[in-house]
Symmetry: C2
Subunit: 151 residues, 2 copies
């Protein structure tokens, strides 16, 4: 479903990108990327902040840096975000194009899926409206299997 890229490659790519844009490679930026890459999952900026505080108590970091870095990483198509209305966004490693989400209303868990039919159909729709598609989001909300069983 998706090609696995080693962290080393990801990091090299990130460094190259920073250099190309006259940006600097810093411990904070690396750490944020590292956390998103290694903890496969979906994180709010606060999640990432807390994870860094817990696991790297020596590193000084502010929440603003998390936001700034996530914006940077998203612009660079290294991470992507999924929005939760008023309750903010969650970020994950990789490009949004590659999959969509099933979001559980009960536990907040997220499952991912990729569906060729939906991908293709989106392109057909965009074409029909002469719409130049740059992105798309598909989110199915409901109750996940394990939360259904709990009851």
């Amino acid at each position: 479903m998706s090609i696995t890229i080693s962290y080393n490659d990801v990091l090299q790519n990130f460094k190259k990108l920073l250099k190309q844009n006259n940006l600097k490679y810093t411990a904070q930026r690396e750490l944020i990327l590292n956390i998103i890459y290694k903890n496969h999952g979906h994180f709010t900026p606060e999640d990432i902040y807390n994870l860094i505080k817990e696991n790297y108590p020596d590193i000084k970091i502010g929440i603003a840096t998390i936001y700034r870095t996530l914006t940077l990483l998203e612009d660079a198509n290294i991470v992507s975000s999924i929005s939760f209305g008023t309750q903010g966004k969650k970020y994950e490693f990789g490009l949004k194009e590659h999959h969509d989400h099933l979001v559980c209303l009960e536990c907040g868990g997220i499952e991912e899926f990729f569906d060729e039919t939906i991908e293709k159909q989106q392109e057909i729709i965009a074409k029909k409206f002469n719409f130049k598609m740059t992105n798309h989001v598909m989110k199915i909300t409901g109750i996940c299997e394990s939360c259904q069983k709990k009851k």
Copy 2:
């Protein structure tokens, strides 16, 4: 594509619903429903607030009432909302189930579409994951036809 319901029917339905839930029919609630129904389109709470201020200068209303009423109307499945990350939500008349959206990044305009293939595929996916779907959102972002022409 959708059945047209007269405003009178909508209003009667709303009144009945209020009564059933021991809620009161007020000028503010009616006005908010009215605006969403008559101005076919997508509105932020602030849009609605401004429209009321402009068109009904005699009515006193606070932004909190708009939020409270929109929540009420959404719970009652009379209006639905579409989320824009940090930048809040837009509300429109009618149920979300009936269509999805094409959102222009340039002008912020929204076009609606309904696609049978996508609707069905969503159900297939939910079933595959044993996921009890209660709702879904599909949003295609990009540049709309008229904004492409402007350049």
